[in-house]
Each structure stands twice: as structure tokens, then as C-alpha cells.
């Protein structure tokens, strides 16, 4: 034991020691040695190019070796007590509290006698904060304005698939489905639309949409009206579109009405026509906002 001289020597007092326990000492030593060996093995693994599973196992042995060693040492080779310690009261003594309150009160009265300055100080800090909040928020992104109400679809837009190939009246068999975009926005997250060909006779057209689905081609926004996931699964047998995120089902033949799940509104329908060369085009953009609801949307 070292002695620290100078002001008052440090004399090591009598210490309680856990004696014996040879077996436990061996275990702790073994754990540490295993850890070192595994570390060496890990170094070798790295030199040889690494192998994820082996690295994981070796890391486990390294860390568990240290862990087991330390825990066993702390649990079995040093005194465990139990020791008891008094809990001091968290609350301060009355005299201390009063002194504290007096100090607080002193300062408060010293600055409190100029309430006008106090208010001005508060105002200047507050205004500074508020004014600077605006450029910060404003730079984060554009205002939504009408962005959520419109899509890139325009009158006469040519339908293309995800590879940019045009869609003609012969592209789909009855029962087929393809994801389409306007030719100028291939892969667009907002303009994504499902094009389905159904047997012409099956369709229950909603009033005003009589001309929207030429030759059994129906186009619906692919954005689920629930949470905006792509409504990616078309079940030909039931003529339903399923959103795999939260299992909303839309009935293709009746204007993509939601028939099951949490989706609240039908998928908006894109009016189509077939041009003189047999290409499918949009009569116009969507007549309502696509995707999930938002505050400004209204009904």
C-alpha cells in the first residue's frame, strides 16, 4: 500500500477481503483469457478479409468474457454487504430555505422596481425569437399553396408505363393492369396511376363519367386515399385493388369505391380517351386531389 505523505498521512485501514474461492478466481481468469483469445481471433479474421457471422460470434466471446469476468468478480470476490446508508432528506433545512428565499427575493425586488425595463427586455428577446423563426421555417420548404390539389396530369397527356413506353389500346388484355404516368413525368410519385382493363360490360359507371373509360380501360390514382401508399395489388377475380400497407380494398368496377379497411374515399379516376393513332391519353387532369386527406381539402 502506498502512503501519501504531506498533510496528514493516508493510512490504509483494515479492509474486509473475501478469502478463498479458488474456483471463482479461476472462472474469472478463464473468462478474461477467453476474451483475449477471441480478440486475437477477431484480428486474424479482419486480416483475412472478415466474415460477418464469425465477427459476431467472436465479438460475443470478447464482450461476454469481459462481462462474465467483471460480474463474477464483483459478485463473488468482493464483499457484498448488505450495507446501509441513511437517506438524507431531499428538502432543505428550514433555515436554508429561508435564506434562499431571502436571496431570491432580494434580487427580485432589486430588478422588480423597474417593471418597464423588465417588460422591454422580455419583449426584445421574444420579438427576436419570433422574427427569426419565420425565415427559419420559411426556408425549410415552399408553402403548400395549391400543390396538394393538383397533379402533373394535364389535358391530352400521353400515358406511358414505368419504362416510358407508350400505352396503346392494345397494350392490356382484359384483366391486365399497368402503372402509368404522363409521358413527361415518368415514375412521378404524385402522378402514378393504375390503368386496368376490364370487360366493357361489367363497369358500373358513375354519373358524369360515362366517357372516362374507353374500351374497358379504367385509370385510378395509385395513391391510397388513406395514407398515400401505392395501391399496388390488383385482384382480377374480385376486381379489387388492395393497398398492402393497411389493407384497404377498392372496388374497380364501381369507381374504386373503398369496400374494406380504413380508406375513407374512392380513388380519384383519370378520364381517358383513345386518340386517332390508338394511344391512350388523359381527357384532363384529376378532378379532385389525389392521395390522403389534409386540412385544406374540404369534402
Amino acid at each position: 500500500m502506498t502512503k501519501v505523505e504531506r498533510d496528514g498521512a493516508f493510512t490504509p485501514p483494515e479492509v474486509e477481503i473475501v478469502e478463498g474461492k479458488r474456483g471463482m478466481e479461476m472462472l474469472v481468469a478463464l473468462a478474461f483469457v477467453l476474451s483475449v483469445l477471441a480478440s486475437i481471433a477477431l484480428a486474424v479474421t479482419f486480416v483475412l478479409g472478415g466474415q460477418p457471422q464469425l465477427e459476431g460470434v467472436l465479438l460475443f466471446i470478447i464482450l461476454a468474457g469481459i462481462g462474465v469476468g467483471m460480474v463474477a468478480w464483483g459478485k463473488y470476490l468482493v464483499p457484498q454487504g448488505p450495507y446501509s446508508q441513511e437517506r438524507e432528506a431531499l428538502k432543505s433545512e428550514i433555515a436554508e430555505r429561508q435564506a434562499f428565499l431571502a436571496s431570491l427575493d432580494r434580487g427580485q425586488r432589486q430588478i422588480g422596481r423597474r417593471p418597464f425595463l423588465m417588460k422591454l427586455m422580455g419583449a426584445s428577446i421574444g420579438v427576436f425569437g419570433l422574427v427569426n423563426l419565420f425565415p427559419f421555417l420559411r426556408s425549410l420548404g415552399p408553402q403548400p399553396k395549391k400543390a396538394l390539389f393538383t397533379t402533373p396530369w394535364k389535358k391530352g397527356a400521353l400515358l406511358v408505363d414505368a419504362n416510358g413506353s407508350t400505352v396503346t389500346v392494345n397494350t392490356l388484355e382484359v384483366g391486365g393492369m399497368v402503372t402509368v404516368f404522363p409521358s413527361y413525368d415518368v415514375g412521378g410519385a404524385i402522378s402514378q396511376t393504375v390503368l386496368i382493363r376490364v370487360a366493357n360490360t361489367d363497369i358500373t359507371t358513375r354519373p358524369g363519367r360515362e366517357t372516362w373509360g374507353p374500351q374497358g380501360y379504367l385509370a385510378y390514382s395509385k395513391l391510397c386515399t388513406h395514407a398515400g401508399c401505392p395501391v399496388g395489388l390488383y385482384q382480377e377475380l374480385t376486381q379489387q385493388l388492395l393497398c398492402p400497407c393497411h389493407q384497404s380494398l377498392f372496388d374497380v368496377l364501381t369507381g374504386a369505391n373503398p369496400v374494406f379497411g380504413p380508406a375513407p374515399r374512392p380513388l380519384p379516376q383519370l378520364p381517358l380517351y383513345v386518340d386517332s393513332s390508338g394511344y391512350i391519353r388523359a381527357q384532363s387532369g384529376y378532378d379532385e386531389p389525389v392521395g390522403p386527406g389534409f386540412w385544406e381539402r374540404g369534402a
Binding site: 462474465v68 467483471m70 460480474v71 448488505p82 446501509s84 410519385a189 398515400g228 398492402p244 379497411g261
Partner: protein, 545 residues
């Protein structure tokens, strides 16, 4: 050496004054106090592995052509974020292990927080004076969940991209300011190009800094207020009984960090998590089937699925259906959670300080509230797998959905009721939770077997209560010596007598120091029972017969 170094520092910083107190700090010993430690240690693992990942991850959604070690995607157009995640998984040494450890550690982190929260709730550890730490803990839980979500969104794979899309819709659903929130966070309409760099800044800098700060406060307050402890012999509201910080607790806690890290390491090495190369790059019009978020988002996903398609519209405005399960529900959940100590205070009118923990059965009503609320979230969690359940059990999706819509309201009250009854019953059984005295099978001289209950703990043992010794330099352990007596260092009984010992008078079976059934235990001599107290073998008594 150590004492010299300490002396050097003391002359410059005066460390002796406060450090001595810390070295002598007492930590109550109970397995349930280690749950919070697991959370802290997995956070440390998160920091280490996370720093490693930042060295290789490129937070950018710029599209590049992938040329790398993963051949199936060679030549594909992917984002830099996705490509760099592939590279650090396949081309960086130990990269995959680090990435998987990071993901596993995040799951363990949130899980440990939740279980720790349950422990604190059910034992009433949040009561005065620990309300502040409860509120901080709630904030830590929220931050951990948010940062988990941000983290698994970064690789820009198909599943996380879909998650980000849903997050955008959830932000949109907030009344009045929703579209502004969404546009400001995403830098415009979905998907934009800002979200990955922004999530990155939040994930690696802002939220970890908040977590570290709050965690520091959480620990400092715990340190200052001292740990709670379970009721027991010698434990009171006025003391703390346990092991000393230095060296026993320091070694144990330090070792426990390594053990936690070891478990995370083997998970990271052997159990695949988030193999983004199988999911593919996020493409807005593509979607995968049967995808579930990380477990701690499950309850939100489940709530989204179960919510009926109610949408409130009128006066030119709309509250979308998503708002209720994804904004309102978590809002209410975390507000109520944070305020629980104050809510309970309103109910119980209890303004006293509490340092002794409740056994959950002692407060049936609180236990029942906790179990009921937990049951609600567990049902929601399972509801996030409606599609998978419908598939695996060959049920219709319709049936599964409606089943869950009913279960979510039926299960919690039943669970609460059962918990209440169990707690009540357990509380009314005398001696519940106390260790029963063991029955020992013995054999008499005629060879017949009989059982005998072990003797009650000796009064001497009853007094085995920790000494108070805060002011002493050295702690004296509580009379470990007589422990030795009880555990049987004494001479074996029945040493002689050709006929064996017909009776065991004078021989005490001794209490069990550490539990166990006690069956077939060797009877021991009760040394203290011997009149001269020196523990002479008394097996010879049997010879009298």
C-alpha cells in the same frame, strides 16, 4: 499508484469531498433495477456502432448507377443513401455486423425502456419525489421511438420509403398546420430530395444529443435522490440497503454493460435484420406485401389498420382519418403517460415521499390500470399483422380485421379485471411472497421416511440487517461470520451411533440462505443452539438410546 493519482487530483480539484461519497454510494440489489441499465448500455452500443456507420453512409437521395459487391443490383439506378448502405454492408470490414448491431441495439434500447417503464409503473417508483424523472423517462421513450423510425428510414429502401410516405400523410393529417408541417419537413411535396439529409441530421445529431442530455439528467437525478428499494428486513423509507458502488457495484455494472453488448453483438452477427438488398431501392410507385415496421412502431401501424374510415369534412376543411390513430392516439398516450404521477396523486391524495417500492399486488387498482392499458397496446401491436395473420391462418382479412376491432375493446377490460382479481387474491393470502420454510425428507432408525419442516430462521438471523456506516472509512459487512454457521461449515451430524440417530434433537435443519426446495438437504448442526456455543459435534446424543 491509484492513491497517489487521486491525491494529485484532489490537490487540484478537491475530488475527495464528493468522490468519496460516490464511491461509498449504496445500490440496492434487485434484478429489476437492471432493466434501465440495459437501456443505457444499448444506447452506448448505439453511439459506438452509429459513429462507425456515419463514416461510410452518404445521406443523399441523388441517383447514381450502382457498381459494387452486391452483384444482383449491379448497374441499377439507386440513390447514394441506398448504395452507400450496400457498400458499408458488403465492402467495409465488419460493416454488416456494425449495421446489424446498430439496428438490434435500437430494438433492444426501446424494448428495455418499455420494460423499465413497466417496472417503475407497477412498483410505484414514480411517486414523490421521482415525478421529474418519470417525465424525463417518458421523453426518452418518445425520442427513442422517433429516432428508431428516422434511423431505419435512412437507407432509402422500399420498405422504409413506404414508411416515410405514410409519415408524410400523417403529418398532412394534422389540422390547420398539417400541410405546412409536411412541406417544411420534406422541403416540398412528397418525396422531394431533402428528406434523407434532414432525417440524417435529426438522427445522428439532434435527437441523440437530446437523448444524451436527458439521460444525463435522468441519471443525475436518480443519483441525487438515491435509488428506491423493495420492502424487506432492515429497509425503510429512511435508508438505502445494498452493495457499495466501489468496487462491487462498479464491477457488476461495468460487466453488465459488456454482457449487454455481447448479446447485441451475437444478434448482429448471426440474426439478419433489415436486409435492404432484398427489398430493393425505394421507388414511389412500388410497394411490397406483408411488411411490418420495427416492433415499437407496431402499435401505431395496428391503430392505422383498425381505425374505421371516418373522415370529418365540413366548412371547407377536413380532418383526415389518419389523424385519429396516428396523431391523436400517440398524443393522448404520451401525455397521459407523462402525467401519470400527477393523475395518481389526484386519485390517491398521497403527498408523502416514497422510497420503498410497492409490490404490484399491494396496489391492485394501479396494477389493473397498467395491465389494461398494456393489453390495449399489445392488441394494437398484433393488429399490425392483420395481413400476415390472415394469410398464415387461412382466414379472411375481413374476419381478422373485425376480430381485432372487437378485441381491442374487449381484451383490455378483461385483462384489467383479471389483474385486479389476481392482485387482490395474492395480497390476501397470508405470507404471499415470503419464502416458505422447506420440508425436508428424513429417515428414522427403522428406515421409515417422514418429513419435517425446517426450523424458522433464528432470531439472530432475523437481525441480519445492514449496519449504518456512512461516516466510516471502511464498511463492515453485516456479520458474515454467522452466515457461515448457517450454511453448514459446522461438523456433520449423526457422526456415530451404529443404530443411526433415532432423533434429531439438537440438530437443526437450518434455514435456507438462498432458497431452493430444501428437499434432501443434509441436516446441519445448529452451533448456536449448543449451550457452550462452540459447536462441538453433537451426533453422539443419539447414542444415549
Amino acid at each position: 499508484m491509484i492513491t497517489q493519482t487521486a491525491d494529485w487530483f484532489d490537490e487540484r480539484l478537491g475530488i475527495a469531498k464528493f468522490t468519496r461519497k460516490s464511491l461509498n454510494k449504496i445500490f440496492p440489489d434487485h434484478w429489476s433495477f437492471m432493466l434501465g441499465e440495459i437501456a443505457m448500455y444499448s444506447f452506448i452500443v448505439l453511439l459506438f456502432t452509429g459513429v462507425f456507420l456515419t463514416l461510410f453512409f452518404v445521406p443523399s437521395s441523388k441517383e447514381i448507377i450502382y457498381h459494387g459487391a452486391y452483384k444482383p443490383l449491379d448497374g441499377h439506378k439507386v440513390s447514394e443513401a441506398y448504395a452507400s448502405t450496400l457498400n458499408l454492408s458488403f465492402s467495409v470490414r465488419a460493416g454488416l455486423v456494425m449495421r446489424q448491431m446498430h439496428h438490434w441495439a435500437a430494438n433492444v434500447f426501446v424494448a428495455a425502456i418499455v420494460v423499465h417503464l413497466c417496472r417503475v409503473f407497477f412498483t410505484g417508483a414514480f411517486r414523490k419525489p421521482r415525478e421529474i424523472n418519470w417525465v424525463i423517462g417518458t421523453m426518452l421513450l418518445i425520442l427513442a421511438i422517433v429516432n428508431g423510425f428516422l434511423g431505419y428510414s435512412l437507407p432509402d429502401d422500399l420498405i422504409s420509403g413506404t414508411g416515410i410516405r405514410i409519415a408524410f400523410s400523417i403529418l398532412l393529417s394534422v389540422p390547420v398546420v398539417g400541410s405546412y408541417l409536411a412541406f417544411f419537413l420534406f422541403g416540398g411535396n412528397f418525396p422531394g430530395h431533402s428528406i434523407i439529409p434532414r432525417f440524417y441530421a435529426l438522427h445522428i445529431l439532434i435527437i441523440p444529443a437530446l437523448i444524451a442530455g436527458l439521460l444525463g439528467a435522468h441519471l443525475a437525478i436518480m443519483w441525487h435522490q438515491k435509488h428506491t428499494q423493495y420492502k424487506g428486513k432492515g429497509k425503510s423509507e429512511r435508508n438505502v440497503v445494498g452493495v457499495a458502488m466501489w468496487p462491487a457495484y462498479a464491477l457488476q455494472a461495468g460487466g453488465f454493460f459488456f454482457l449487454t453488448a455481447a448479446v447485441i453483438a451475437i444478434l448482429g452477427g448471426l440474426v439478419q435484420i433489415n436486409p435492404i438488398w432484398l427489398y430493393g431501392q425505394y421507388i414511389p410507385y412500388k410497394v411490397s406485401y406483408a411488411v411490418q415496421p420495427d416492433w415499437y412502431m407496431g402499435w401505431l401501424d395496428g391503430a392505422l389498420r383498425l381505425m374505421p374510415s371516418w373522415e370529418i369534412a365540413g366548412f371547407g376543411h377536413m380532418i383526415p382519418t389518419v389523424f385519429f390513430p396516428a396523431v391523436l392516439l400517440p398524443g393522448i398516450t404520451f401525455t397521459a403517460l407523462a402525467l401519470w404521477p400527477f393523475i395518481e396523486k389526484k386519485i390517491t391524495k398521497d403527498t408523502a415521499e416514497h422510497h420503498l417500492l410497492d409490490n404490484p399486488r399491494d396496489v391492485p387498482w394501479r396494477t389493473s390500470v397498467g395491465v389494461g392499458v398494456l393489453a390495449f397496446y399489445v392488441v394494437l401491436f398484433f393488429a399490425s399483422s392483420t395481413d400476415v395473420l390472415a394469410n398464415s391462418f387461412q382466414l379472411s382479412l375481413n374476419f381478422v380485421l373485425w376480430g381485432f376491432r372487437i378485441l381491442v375493446f374487449v381484451v383490455p377490460p378483461i385483462a384489467a379485471f383479471v389483474a385486479y382479481k389476481v392482485a387482490k387474491e395474492a395480497g390476501s393470502v397470508p405470507g404471499t411472497g415470503r419464502r416458505k420454510r422447506a420440508n425436508v425428507i428424513l429417515r428414522n432408525a427403522q428406515g421409515a421416511y417422514y418429513t419435517e419442516q425446517t426450523a424458522p430462521r433464528s432470531p439472530q438471523h432475523e437481525e441480519e440487517v445492514a449496519e449504518e456506516l456512512p461516516e466510516e472509512v471502511v464498511y463492515h459487512a453485516l456479520d458474515r461470520n454467522h452466515h457461515g454457521e448457517l450454511v453448514g461449515s459446522a461438523a456433520p451430524s449423526g457422526a456415530g451411533g451404529p443404530a443411526g440417530s433415532p432423533s434429531h434433537s439438537g440438530v437443526d435443519l437450518g434455514p435456507l440462505p438462498s432458497g431452493g426446495s430444501g428437499i434432501f438437504r443434509i441436516p446441519r448442526v445448529r452451533r448456536s443452539a449448543a449451550p457452550d456455543g462452540n459447536g462441538e459435534p453433537i451426533g453422539g446424543i443419539g447414542d444415549r438410546g
